[in-house]
């Protein structure tokens, strides 16, 4: 076969996004009201969404590196290097304020637009503006 690894990796990445986006739509998470009704304790469905996605990947993240030394179309299995500090806690609080206000997070904003919920373009624009402000701010921190 002449299809090279990067092409296969890109195709698999696209497929991963499609599955993810389809799941968000199926779980009604692309509708801000579904998220808000969880946060307001009217419907605890979001916990089931999170629970099933996490449970599956607890197994996959543990098994995959034991099953193979490297991913199918890549070099290494990555881990999430993250250590909590004051800055990231402030980030978590800000994310919670915004999420609690509008009921939209980054994944559902993308999948929702694919599903034709054009109202979410406003949320997408907001997230883009927030990420721009963060990057410009972080750039200034770096210069200082």
């Amino acid at each position: 076969m002449s299809i090279n690894q990067p092409t296969l990796a890109s195709f698999a990445t696209l497929l991963s996004g499609v599955l993810f986006g389809f799941g968000l739509a199926l779980a009604t998470m692309i509708r801000p009201e579904s998220v808000l009704s969880f946060l307001q304790f009217d419907d605890f469905g979001l916990l089931l969404v999170l629970g099933s996605a996490v449970t599956l990947n607890l197994a996959v993240f543990w098994l995959a590196p034991r099953w193979r030394t490297r991913p199918l179309f890549g070099d290494t299995f990555q881990t999430r290097p993250f250590s909590i500090d004051r800055r990231s806690l402030v980030g978590g609080i800000l994310f919670g304020i915004g999420w609690g206000l509008c009921g939209v997070c980054p994944g559902p904003a993308l999948a929702g637009i694919g599903a034709g919920s054009m109202d979410l373009l406003v949320a997408l624009g907001g997230i883009l503006a927030g990420a721009l402000a963060h990057g410009l701010w972080a750039s200034r921190q770096r210069d200082a």
């Binding site: 696209l14 801000p32 946060l39 980030g91």
Partner: protein, 153 residues
């Protein structure tokens, strides 16, 4: 009790969550990557902004796969509609979507992730830091959502 907790049933949540998990699992098994979504919103700016943060190696090196992944997310939503499955319009006012989106976008980047990065990838990696961030944003969001409703905003 269980009926009250899930007035719309449990099936769409469990099955939807499995598809979400399957997407993240497929990305990991095929490329070894952890598929949080929020970094994409910084990576996309690297194509237009010369600010040092956007041109830093971690942002630029991942921008291509993140663009492909995010395109997949949009297509996944489109596939859902193409299969004739129902979508309800939102009644959340535009100003809340704009303001909430901007604050959460800034916060997700400052906090190193969102519901997918910390919530799914981080927790499934048993990262204590991610779990603490999830507790932080979840409890904050619950308080904010209750206050907003109580005030009738």
């Amino acid at each position: 009790m269980l009926i009250n907790a899930f007035p719309h049933g449990m099936q769409q949540y469990l099955v939807g969550g499995l598809f979400i998990g399957l997407g993240i699992a497929t990305l990991f098994v095929s490329t070894g990557r952890m598929g949080g979504v929020s970094t994409f919103f910084s990576a996309i700016w690297s194509y237009v902004s010369s600010a040092p943060y956007f041109q830093s190696a971690p942002i630029v090196s991942g921008r291509r796969w993140r663009l492909v992944y995010s395109t997949g997310l949009v297509l996944g939503g489109a596939l859902y509609v193409a299969l004739g499955l129902p979508v309800e319009a939102t009644h959340v006012p535009a100003w809340k979507l704009a303001v909430g989106g901007a604050i959460s976008g800034f916060g997700a980047r400052l906090g190193g992730g969102c519901t997918s990065g910390h919530g799914i990838c981080g927790m499934a990696s048993l990262s204590v830091g991610s779990m603490l961030i999830v507790l932080t944003f979840l409890s904050t969001a619950i308080v904010v959502a209750h206050v907003v409703r109580a005030l009738g905003i």
